[in-house]
């Protein structure tokens, strides 16, 4: 045990000494973040695995938390190969409707139930049984079932859903409403990978109003699509490569509506762990007033 600690802390001391020595060198020493970046990119993780952090808060002005989140991560590795598998969902139940919290809770549980059922024979059967549906069909099916359950369990209510299924190198996102998915790439670029189903976003896309007008538009909370609303529900299902050494952030509008994309990016890149990053995001939204429920999930695939 002592050896183990010596190894750990001894090494740290050595590193500190090196930094001290380097003061005499003309070139500027690399910052810890820069070193970390080099370390991460040169390291190869065996097996490939998913790491995740979550954050949630009722906010500063509401009494009820109508947001729900679900994070499910699994690693199976051995001679038969390894495929990281994870399912992450953010659902924002709708205020102004009854049972918003019932709707978001029913949505995340139903979707997870549907998806995991489909994957069960693949993950746990001997021998492993291939899926007979495509990833997008599985996600589409799960959303439809969640729609049925929400209509039955919480009629008149509604919820947004942004669900990300990570399998191997790909992430498949099913999305309804105005929660968001962001990808943050290794080079620091950040991209919204979902499309808000909101009136103001649509007006903005069509060039009727500007982004700054959208941020203060009186109807900025109005969605045109949500789970539990309407007879037919069309969700956006897309698949894209998971950014290498990058991140996927899922969050409700209680976060992205209050904290700028740039700030979210900075928090993600600067926090020591994903859990801390999520806590810092929630704190930032609460500091900005916290008018709505706040939910964030931050995911990274190490490979």
């Amino acid at each position: 045990m002592n050896n183990f600690f010596d190894k750990l802390f001894g090494k740290k001391k050595q590193q500190q000494q090196k930094t001290a020595v380097s003061e005499n060198v003309v070139t500027a020493p690399l910052s810890d973040a820069q070193l970390q970046a080099i370390k991460v990119s040169s390291n190869k993780f065996e097996p490939a695995q998913i790491v995740v952090g979550c954050g949630q808060s009722v906010g500063k002005q509401r009494e009820l938390n109508e947001d729900s989140l679900l994070a499910f991560t699994s690693s199976i590795s051995g001679n038969s190969g390894s495929t990281p598998f994870g399912l992450y969902i953010v659902a924002d139940g709708m205020g102004g409707h009854q049972y918003g919290e019932v709707a978001s809770n029913a949505a995340i549980r139903t979707i997870a139930d549907q998806v995991l059922r489909k994957f069960h024979p693949y993950l746990f059967n001997l021998p492993s049984t291939p899926l007979d549906e495509s990833l997008q069909e599985i996600m589409q099916g799960a959303i439809s079932e969640a729609q049925r359950v929400v209509l039955r369990e919480a009629p008149g209510s509604g919820t947004t859903v942004t669900a990300a299924l990570v399998v191997g190198q790909q992430v498949t996102i099913a999305h309804v409403g105005d929660s968001r998915g962001y990808m943050i790439y290794q080079d620091g670029r950040m991209e919204v990978v979902t499309r808000d189903h909101s009136l103001v976003r649509r007006l903005e896309e069509l060039g009727q109003i500007t982004a700054s007008e959208a941020a203060v538009h009186p109807q900025r909370n109005v969605l045109y699509r949500a789970l539990g609303q309407g007879e037919v529900l069309e969700s956006d299902v897309t698949t894209m490569p998971f950014p290498q050494n990058g991140y996927l952030l899922l969050c409700s509008d209680g976060l992205w509506g209050l904290v700028s994309d740039e700030e979210l990016r900075q928090i993600t890149l600067n926090a020591p762990t994903l859990h801390t990053a999520c806590q810092n995001m929630v704190t930032a939204a609460n500091t900005a007033g916290g008018p709505d429920n706040i939910t964030a999930i931050l995911i990274q695939v190490l490979s």
Partner: protein
């Protein structure tokens, strides 16, 4: 209010017949007619504004508009009998319309409403809107045309209700809400409402009535993404055109007046014969640009050209069913040499190190000098070679009808390994990141590493003749089971599949997030690679078996109907087509703005793109 309540000693409430933003609408009995049952509609507005000044303004507005309405006399506008205020509530007493609103009618009708019926209502709605717009001194803009504001009475006549007197005043709701106005034009969200807003909203109302697709749950201003006839093909092109004009995004692109829209509706009705028998004009048929494309040159072979040409170093190399591989001068089509095999050539040649590689029906892979056409070596498979060779890591990879994928060493001309597939391999392999991807006629699809070991396998329901393409770690191919598949290239997980109307042997291609393919159903498709959504389709007159080729912002694709089509790849719009005298079964090749393509009419063509 509950049933039995009597207002101002005159109107006895019977039941609620509608709920609005600021109160309800009731059916009531007018007690001034004790000997008969006279029914009226009583519309209530609850004034909840806390500020007494605002409250007074709301009441004034209510009374002013009631006064305007009282002067309007039209069969499609309910008569107003009375209005009064009590405490914080104002009431309007109107003619009771015995019927259902159009939204209920749409929802209660199994299937679609008939075009004839919708057209008749639409013309009546134009009449009443036209009456309002002609109001003096100021035109009255209805502002809220939608199915729930249109009543259809017992005589099947329409009556416009809800003149915006009791419109909800926004009270700044917090939190996420569902629902948009859906029928309103974009400019109305900036506070502009002109008579052209009514034109748009009427277009939206007709669209909803004909398609049953409620615009309040669709993306706002997305009517152009769901043309009426795509949902309800029974509707005439004429009526769809009128609806499209009314729904133009920019108000100046719509009908300039509601009267113009009415005339267009009547015109559409006459053309389709739904409004009496009036001589019809021959509708203008749009013809694509044809005949303007002239070949730079054409070279005649002795049999059908099904192979795809290859460009290398100023020459075109193309195989033919007459057993020859031809080398032609790419600039003028001059014959350079031909090399005879003992069977037809359907595969696309590959080039490596100044040599041309191609398979033949004679079971052999031939390697000849690009310059002279002299044979260097040949390699024997045990059956026809229809798969095109791919060169990588000093090996030629190709399939054969002998059910193997062959990996032949280019240095020795000998087999390094072969991989046993479940059936004939006619698909051309795709090689990337040390994996070889190909399908076979049993429907199995394989990823094999450079040692000939299977990495993964996927099964389609029918044969895979299509050659895969890999982009961003996703492999795309089609199958005779009529699906276009997208699989994760590392694991073989199916990401999505897209159903076409018939089976396909077409090899997909890719550009800017769009996957292009075609099928025996005669269509060329553009599919979004992330969402598997069909972005466009282009109908040819026969099967599509050759692959769409991307060049600049166009794709080039032949069809068995004999045409080579050039389509704008983002929209699928036809740029031009060139008609050959036989089916085109292979793919085109574009180099330096010149398109090279072979046809079953025995010719190889060079066309200026």
């Amino acid at each position: 209010m509950t049933g039995g309540t009597t207002l101002v000693d005159r109107y006895t409430i019977q039941e609620v017949i509608g709920v609005g933003g600021m109160g309800s609408v009731y059916r009531a009995r007018d007690l001034h007619f004790p000997n008969v049952v006279k029914l009226v509609a009583v519309k209530e507005m609850i004034n909840q504004a806390p500020d007494p000044l605002i409250r007074a303004t709301i009441v004034q507005n209510f009374e002013r508009e009631a006064n305007i309405l009282a002067t309007l006399s039209h069969p499609s506008i309910p008569r107003i009998y009375d209005y009064f205020s009590e405490d914080n509530r104002s009431y309007l007493v109107l003619e009771f319309v015995n019927g259902r609103d159009l939204e209920q009618v749409i929802n209660d009708t199994p299937g679609f409403l008939s075009e004839e019926q919708v057209l008749a209502w639409a013309i009546q709605l134009c009449d009443v809107l036209s009456f309002l717009h002609a109001h003096k001194p100021d035109p009255i803009v209805f502002r809220d045309m939608k199915p729930s504001n249109v009543m259809v009475n017992q005589a099947n006549h329409i009556i416009l209700v809800d003149f915006g007197i009791a419109k909800p005043f926004q009270t700044g709701q917090k939190g996420t809400m569902i629902g948009t106005e859906g029928y309103s034009p974009p400019e109305q969200y900036r506070g502009e409402a002109t008579t052209l807003a009514d034109v748009y909203a009427l277009g939206a109302t007709i669209h909803h009535a004909l398609t049953r697709r409620d615009p309040r749950i669709e993306p706002p201003f997305s009517f152009s993404e769901r043309p009426v006839r795509k949902i309800n093909p029974a509707v005439s092109l004429e009526l769809e055109t009128v609806i499209n004009s009314a729904l133009q995004y920019n108000s100046k692109d719509r009908f300039p007046t509601i009267e113009a829209m009415r005339d267009a509706l009547i015109g559409a009705g006459r053309k389709t014969g739904l409004l009496g028998r009036v001589p019809t004009q021959v509708s203008q048929v749009l013809t694509a640009q044809t005949g303007t494309i002239k070949p730079i040159w054409a070279f005649q072979c002795e049999d059908e050209v099904r192979s795809t040409p290859l460009f290398f170093n100023g020459s075109i190399y193309v195989g033919c069913y007459d057993n020859n591989l031809y080398a032609l001068n790419a600039t003028n089509g001059e014959f350079q040499w031909k090399y005879a095999t003992d069977g037809g050539i359907v595969s696309k040649p590959a080039v490596f190190d100044g040599n041309i590689f191609f398979g033949s029906e004679d079971h052999r892979l031939h390697v000849v000098s690009a310059r002279s056409g002299k044979v260097l070596w040949t390699y024997f498979a045990d059956d026809h070679i229809r798969s095109s060779p791919r060169i990588s890591e000093n090996h030629a990879f190709f399939g054969s009808d002998d059910k193997y994928l062959h990996a032949v060493n280019l240095g020795t001309g000998r087999l390094s390994w072969r991989f046993a597939a479940a059936a004939e391999v006619r698909s051309s392999p795709f090689v990337v990141d040390e994996l070889v991807y190909f399908g076979c006629e049993s429907g199995d699809f394989y990823a094999v590493n450079f040692r000939g070991e299977m990495k993964w396998r996927f099964s389609a329901k029918r044969g895979i003749t299509s050659s895969p393409c890999v982009q961003d770690n996703v492999v795309y191919f089609t199958s005779m089971d009529s699906y276009l598949y997208a699989l994760d290239a590392k694991t073989g997980w199916s990401i999505w599949r897209f159903k076409m109307e018939k089976g396909s042997v077409v090899s997909p291609s890719f550009a800017e997030g769009i996957v292009f393919c075609g099928s025996a159903d005669g269509n060329i498709y553009g599919i979004d690679s992330r969402s598997a959504k069909e972005l466009w389709r282009f109908k040819t007159d026969h099967q599509v078996s050759g692959s769409p080729i991307v060049y600049k912002d166009s794709i080039y694709c032949g069809s068995v109907d004999g045409n080579l089509y050039c389509l704008e790849y983002r929209t699928g719009r036809l740029r031009w087509k060139y008609e050959t005298k036989g089916p085109i079964m292979g793919s085109a090749m574009v180099y330096d703005d010149i398109v090279y393509v072979g046809s079953a009419d025995h010719f190889v063509y060079a066309l200026l793109s």
